[in-house]
């Protein structure tokens, strides 16, 4: 959580775009993806427009791998101005579109699309932020945040990875914002709550750009000043380590704090052997002698 109230000199935004083809809104109408992508690009450019020192990275998250869409590794594209648009913005737009095409083309055809690798993409984003911090000019105040735009549904399969990433982000004072395009995502919402970011489930895809600009454009120091959607209630259920199901009550290893939905005599994470077999026997209450 960013503790400093003074505005930073520059702010670094990493946008993670979920491009998995099995998202519901894409399977229903593939053209919507183009609209969403345009909105994300326009949003990315508005971020760059805020301050001249603002930095941007966009990561495309697919079901087989995650890849940087912007900035492109190696030499940047040679883009010249074609219309009234600021050259840098044109470069962002062209790079993202070109690299996304490459990413989609590289997907294995014989494989059935699985789950989006969001936790991996988040880790990539954190690495990128760490690198930018290391390379930054000393004395420059930079605030960083990550925005996830996804339409995937909630699964607990990556629960441990998610939690690792969330707490790393919290320690690094990186905000995680989540913009859900389709369903309510309780796991990612936990991440927002842990890191102090915002969570928003977009009611309709048509106004996506407006939602992004209104809610996610202000940086951390500005958010206290504006009236923004509140946290709401956060579902803090943990997923068990054995079946990845969300639990309200479960078994917790007393050594490594792993969560299980069923009792097992050996903890699968730290291999601790529990001596007591089965749940604790309920001791018959000693009845006090009535005087």
């Amino acid at each position: 959580m960013a503790d400093d109230e003074q505005p930073s000199d520059s702010s670094l935004l990493v946008i993670i775009v979920d491009t998995n083809p099995n998202q519901r809104y894409i399977t229903e109408d593939p053209k919507v993806l183009t609209g969403c992508l345009d909105a994300v690009i326009a949003f990315a450019n508005s971020h760059l427009m805020q301050k001249s020192r603002n930095q941007l990275a966009v990561i495309g998250c697919h079901f087989h791998k995650s890849e940087y869409l912007y900035p492109s590794p190696g030499k940047p594209l040679d883009v010249r101005q074609i219309d009234g648009q600021y050259e840098l913005f044109t470069l962002v737009e062209k790079t993202i579109k070109m690299r996304l095409v490459n990413l989609v083309k590289s997907q294995p055809l014989d494989e059935k699309p699985g789950e989006s690798l969001l936790a991996g993409a988040l880790a990539m984003a954190l690495c990128f932020i760490a690198r930018m911090r290391r390379e930054a000019t000393p004395g420059l105040k930079t605030s960083s945040r990550i925005l996830i735009v996804t339409g995937s549904s909630d699964t607990a399969a990556q629960y441990i990875n998610y939690m690792n990433v969330f707490f790393t982000a919290q320690k690094q004072q990186v905000l995680i914002d989540v913009c859900s395009l389709d369903k309510h995502l309780s796991l990612l919402q936990q991440g927002c709550d842990i890191t102090g970011g915002l969570y928003l489930k977009v009611p309709s895809l048509e106004g996506l750009l407006q939602y992004l600009l209104w809610v996610f454009l202000p940086e951390a120091s500005e958010r206290t000043k504006l009236v923004l959607p509140g946290r709401g209630r956060v579902d803090y259920r943990a997923a068990c380590f054995c079946h990845r199901e969300l639990l309200t009550i479960g078994y917790v290893c007393s050594v490594c704090l792993s969560v299980f939905c069923k009792f097992s005599p050996i903890c699968t994470t730290c291999h601790t052997v529990f001596k007591i077999g089965g749940p604790l026997p309920i001791k018959p209450k000693k009845k006090r002698m009535k005087v």
């Binding site: 427009m49 009234g84 000019t137 600009l213 000043k225």
Partner: protein, 480 residues
């Protein structure tokens, strides 16, 4: 009783007023709305103005950007939480001042805000594309002698230092044109010597030298634009071109094709100051340098200088120690001369100058019209990277300079400002002590008494209340 109005000037002691460096916002504020309206026809200016706005104002604009009808003012107010109401009104004021938005009535009779049509249109163009390309970005075949970024940086630095060197009267007097001299004279940074007519640096000039490079360039160009208007160059056109440069990409070439004659003249001037690089006058292509790119970031005040540095080359060279010693790793005479303005130089080595900040040396600078803030700002912005690094480990202070030095320099400035001037009217020569006491008590009651002495039967009241006190005295003297 007699009253003598002593009109003391409310000026400060410094005979030379401190140099004003307006940022883009203030510069535009001082211009007419019509001028602004023509400016907003250029997408680049809209982009620059947008970046200059206060942070809340930026969000107002972006939220209104895609709204086609007026939005009630009450709605805009509701966007900001109550505790920041002051910042909110400041943001609204800034937007009105620059005529980015206008008041527009809403059918219900409520007052509303509406973004200026041309501003909205052109900001959208800059952000999302569309419209015409800026004149200078015609397609060019690749340059056979393309220049890289480090070359451009070196070139820009050399050209700009040439101007600065000329100002301090160093040996290099070649390479600066009559136009540049005229601007320096016009800006009051230099003045013609009474005897031989040669240009000498003024106090304002020294203060100019202490500014960051980006600010220097911006101030210089402001004065250029003022003189440009007299030479039938359109200020709007020049400003638009400047911002086109500032939004171009470093290390890329741009075409001069389609530029008007006036603009070509302007380009030649910019070339002279190192804002653009051109191999030959008729080369047909030019490269903007970092100086031009930084016009848009004048606002970065207080921070260390990032302007004239490449990817990894640090520009800071000054280390300040808590014992008031200043070590400057520099070879240029200009930087040594600047440091000598407010330090006592002790040693000089081939690549290092050692000086001490003393009361005398600072007072010398203060007498020259330089303020403590300017000194501290200079030390701060040229701080050695080592100083920048040491800050993160220790106590978190607002400045990276040693707090003792900062405080002491400010104290030295304060000790010169022991007088505060207020305008007042003296009442003296009262006939009796009773009269004096009555009038004094009246003035005291009204809270307008500045000073009084019972023994000398003299009192001073503020200028604004003079009439009131006089009326009371007349009433009083009639009744008694």
């Amino acid at each position: 009783m007699s009253e003598s109005s002593s009109k003391s000037k409310s000026l400060n002691l410094n005979p030379a007023p401190t140099l004003q460096c307006k940022d883009l916002h203030e510069y535009l504020k001082s211009r007419s709305p019509q001028f602004l309206e023509t400016l907003y026809n250029y997408p680049t200016i809209c982009l620059a103005v947008y970046r200059e706005l206060p942070e809340l104002a930026r969000h107002f604009v972006i939220r209104l950007l895609f709204v086609e009808q007026p939005v009630p003012q009450a709605v805009v107010t509701s966007w900001v939480s109550q505790t920041y109401a002051r910042e909110q009104s400041k943001a609204c004021e800034a937007l009105s001042e620059l005529s980015v938005w206008q008041e527009a009535p809403i059918p219900g009779g409520m007052p509303g805000w509406m973004l200026s049509q041309s501003f909205k249109k052109n900001l959208k163009v800059a952000l999302l594309g569309g419209g015409r390309a800026w004149s200078m970005s015609m397609s060019l075949e690749p340059d056979g002698r393309a220049r890289d970024v480090s070359f451009l940086d070196a070139y820009a630095l050399e050209r700009w230092e040439c101007v600065l060197h000329y100002m301090v009267g160093s040996a290099q007097t070649e390479g600066i044109s009559a136009d540049a001299v005229r601007i320096l004279l016009h800006a009051g940074l230099m003045t013609r010597d009474a005897e031989d007519g040669s240009a000498v640096i003024t106090r304002a000039g020294f203060q100019f030298l202490l500014l960051s490079t980006a600010k220097q360039v911006w101030l210089f160009l402001q004065h250029y634009l003022q003189t440009a208007e007299r030479r039938s160059l359109s200020a709007a056109e020049c400003l638009a071109f400047l911002y086109q440069l500032s939004f171009s990409t470093l290390g890329k070439d741009y075409s001069t094709e389609g530029m008007s004659n006036n603009m070509l003249v302007f380009l030649q001037h910019l070339r002279e100051f190192g804002l653009v690089y051109q191999r030959k006058r008729k080369a047909g292509r030019f490269y903007p340098t970092r100086l031009a790119l930084n016009i848009a970031n004048v606002r970065g005040d207080g921070g260390p200088e990032f302007s004239l540095q490449g990817a990894g080359a640090p520009s800071g060279y000054i280390i300040v120690e808590t014992n008031y010693r200043v070590y400057a790793y520099t070879q240029t005479t200009l930087q040594v001369a600047l440091l000598g303005l407010f330090t006592e130089l002790v040693y000089r080595f081939p690549n290092l100058v050692v000086g001490v900040v003393t009361r005398e040396s600072v007072r010398q600078a203060l007498r020259g019209g330089i303020t403590a803030d300017q000194i501290l700002h200079y030390l701060h912005q040229h701080a050695h990277p080592q100083m920048l690094k040491s800050e993160t480990g220790g106590i978190r202070s607002t400045s990276l300079l040693p707090p003792t030095v900062v405080d002491q320099i400010r104290l030295w400035e304060d000790e010169r400002n022991r007088f505060t001037y207020t305008e007042g009217v003296v009442y003296n020569q009262f006939l009796s002590q009773a009269d004096f006491v009555v009038l004094r008590d009246y003035a005291k009651q009204q809270g307008v008494l500045t000073w009084q002495s019972e023994r000398a039967r003299t009192m001073v009241v503020t200028r604004a209340s003079h009439d009131d006190v006089k009326k009371f005295w007349k009433r009083y003297s009639k009744t008694s």
